[in-house]
Symmetry: C2
Subunit: 122 residues, 2 copies
């Protein structure tokens, strides 16, 4: 279900209304040895998103597991679906994800809500 | 790369030594309409992990995206690879993930390190 199509680079939006924060989980296929090219491209695109209204936080993860299908995963929180969606409907977004260099790194984006949260006792 | 094999229910461990915290990202295939059966099973297994040394925190996510291949994703932080690994080598772990009910919910676990982190300006 991963894609190199710019039109599918944004997570599908729920058909039913949703209020409150949402989490983007976007998994990337990156060949070992191409981490530098990926992070350069990702950092540029990420700079756009971090400046948009509704962006809350993100963590970019690199795998430690041999043979993980997705070597890089971005987990990002947005204040609302509406703001997440607005950030993905601009001409700047289309230009960023339409860069030919992205074809090397198929991605699989989806949005989620946090249902359960636990922290260890301090 | 998802699996219903109990022997593959734990994320593969890096061949090279790693220090510091790690993040498990475990994605589950759950049919719409089976969320109740999944969360009951997951909560039971999660109770085991939350009690293990090295468990730091977790967030269980349910998708809002129509047709997401993985409708549920657990993102959990552990204090070290060694403690994560130890928690996955007990007889209790094997019994928990060996439950036949888990066959309905293939999972795709991998461990990661956080490479980049950003928060919006307050």
């Amino acid at each position: 279900m991963s894609t190199i199509n710019p039109d599918e680079r944004a997570a599908a939006i729920p058909a039913v209304p949703h209020t409150g924060p949402v989490t983007l989980i976007n998994s990337f296929e990156v060949d070992a040895g191409r981490d530098g090219a990926f992070t350069e491209l990702w950092s540029h695109t990420s700079g756009y998103f971090r400046a948009q209204p509704g962006f809350v936080s993100l963590r970019l993860h690199r795998t430690l597991s041999p043979n993980a299908p997705y070597r890089w995963v971005n987990v990002a929180t947005w204040a609302s679906v509406a703001q997440f969606q607005a950030a993905h409907q601009t001409e700047e977004f289309r230009q960023l994800v339409g860069q030919p260099a992205w074809k090397e790194f198929p991605s699989s984006p989806a949005i989620y809500e946090v249902v359960t949260e636990y922290s260890a006792q301090a």
